[in-house]
């Protein structure tokens, strides 16, 4: 794109007035913010005894989960789009022909290196069947690096743990009457 492209709208910085130049107003504004926080409700929580309150668990980007379909099978179709989108290369999938007659392909193994993951959420965006989602669980810990490589079983268990508190995107869309993605 050229600098003289017609589609570019050039915006000038607004000139400072008398009040702005004196900085007095800005000084008062800044001090007001500080004073407000002095008297407002405390935000610090005594973790882990107290839990952080997450405003919207749906959009929070915590540990991944692998969703199950209606029959309790892994929903993932092993299309590798999450692995392709992943900027940290932390997803490793081994695909195979599925053992079920109504499905063609499924992940024989599905592992995410939670230590390598940067929690950007691109895998969730890339997934065509809403199989991988980020939950609001944020405090994950382990005793070794190997332990932090989550396999299919572990990721499915996170789904079982969080499915009630955090419905899948497909279920939310159904609830809104928008209809889930065709599968």
């Amino acid at each position: 794109m050229n600098a003289n492209d017609k589609r570019i709208r050039w915006v000038k910085e607004p000139a400072l007035g008398m009040a702005g130049k004196s900085y007095l107003l800005l000084f008062v504004q800044g001090l007001a913010t500080t004073l407000k926080h002095l008297v407002s409700r405390k935000k610090t929580v005594q973790s882990p005894e107290e839990r952080h309150e997450i405003p919207d668990p749906i959009i929070y980007r915590g540990v991944h989960r692998l969703n199950r379909d209606e029959q309790g099978r892994v929903k993932c179709v092993a299309c590798f789009l999450c692995a392709t989108a992943c900027p940290a290369h932390c997803i490793d999938i081994v695909a195979a022909e599925s053992p079920w007659p109504d499905r063609e392909k499924y992940p024989q193994s599905f592992t995410i290196d939670e230590l390598r993951c940067i929690y950007c959420g691109l895998c969730e965006e890339a997934c065509p069947v809403d199989a991988i989602e980020l939950t609001s669980l944020y405090d994950l810990s382990g005793k070794s690096r190997e332990e932090m490589i989550f396999d299919k079983q572990k990721l499915l268990s996170i789904y079982d743990q969080t499915k009630d508190a955090e419905p899948t995107r497909t279920e939310r869309l159904k609830g809104e009457g928008g209809g889930g993605k065709a599968e």
Partner: protein, 577 residues
Amino acid sequence: MPTIIIDNREFEIPGGVKLNCIQAAKLAGVEIPHYCWHPGLSVVGSCRMCLVEVGSKDAKTGKIAMQPKLVPACNQTAVEGTVIVTNSEKVARTRAMVEEDLLLRHPIDCPICDKAGECSLQDYHFAHGQDQRRADLQPFTSRRRDIGDVSLFVDRCILCSRCVRFAKEISGTSELMVAGRGTHEEIDVVENHPLHNNLSGNVVDLCPVGALADKDFLYRQRVWFLRRHKGICTGCATGCSIWIEENQDRIHRLKPRENPHVNQWWMCNEGRYGYPHVHSDKRIVHPIRHQRAEGFNPSAECETNAAFSGNSSRGDKPLGSLSHEILDWTDLPTELNQVLRSSKHLGAILSPFLAVEEAYLLCKMLRGIDKNAMLALGPIPVVGEDEHFPKGFTVRAEKCPNRRGVENVLTHFTGKIVPYGNFLKSVEKGEIRGVWVAGGYKNDWIDEPTAKTFESVELLIVQDLFPSPLSERASFLLPVAAFVEIDGSYVNHADRLQTVPQAIRPPLGVRSAGSLLWEMSGRKGLYDAQAVLREAAHEILYFSAAAGGVPEAGIDLKSNLLAGMGKIEDSSKIQQA
């Protein structure tokens, strides 16, 4: 040179060859989308994707007359004065219509389709299709049918009939057909006559969509993870040009690379699926020194084979009276040089799997140490008879890539080719005390009794891919890189030399024969196969045509030799003067 006008631009196309409008446009840098047309198959013009506006320019008046209807570019020969319009509104609208029609019942299961990423339907839809789906059909799954060597996803098919024409024209087996009429048309085979021939793998490459799937490659990798490298198939003496497609040094599939002089667009199943030995865990992956104890009888050792491969946990244990030690590559070239120099009467067996450069370096080095070293050609694997197909594609019975190349290197150094049998006799008589066996065979090539002949040899250096009866008796057992792991040149049955670069790295602990011999012959720096080939080309008349580099399709050594005979003699005279 005929001149055509394409999209308001004049372009000269080469004369003397019949080109259709798709080919002519391609030369001019304009892509005309097409599904059913393939340069190697007959024209049917059924997909209607290549419809363009065609006209002709009157040579006398200069007036252009366009045909009223759109014409399939695949069936229109480009001649002097042909006018092609590919960028008009009318053409664009037609392409969008064709795309919409093809996608009406095409399942949108791209996420699980192996073709996604290299699919013509995807690519053309993005380039020429409509953004919105008007149909309320939303098919998501495809029926799958086993039709023999490949899998057929029935609903993904767009009925281009490339595979049907291939089976009829190229493999000549005619297993495939279009069954049904109208919207019920499907690709199928007759019951009890599955698609089964040595070229069947090509229909997967031909398929512009994901309807035909390779059973070997199915669901292994997404195609965008694969990197492709130029290669040569070493399955037989035809030496097909291939693409080696790998991800992280693991080959996932081999595909034919277009080469009009060798394989055109095809390759056989034998070559296509002939790569798993590269990743076999039976491969020799460490240089090993064996110490032979007195009175040792290796034939009594039946379990040594497993121990020789690097994956064995018993790697360092002495086996019976034979002890072996895993060596490091650092000092090995010097050590080998020393033992070779201290040994009198050297001999070597060069397998027809060696690249020209490796054979040349080995002969040069051994002849440098012992100027009477006996150099012989290893056994040539021959299986069955040549398999000919209607349009000239041939799978050779000679299952090695470089007999001609190695033979000519040997002839240069020894004057005539020493038969393998004669070499064995000399070994038996004790005329040869030190033997270098440069193997690289894909499967068993030496039997127990023959290997026993070598027991009398003082120094036996064996380079091979897999353990064999001979490798058990080797003083030094050296691993060697497989065909995809080396820079090198092969000469096929018709004296065509092709050069390819390394595609994947060899397993840890394996070093290519070329780089070892390069260091052993005292050359500095990294192994440079091209420099070796140049050197060989200057020294050996047969390879002289390769002196100036090798083009992608290879060079015909024989005809170049015959044509350039006079010139080379002249230049050698000049050099001498």
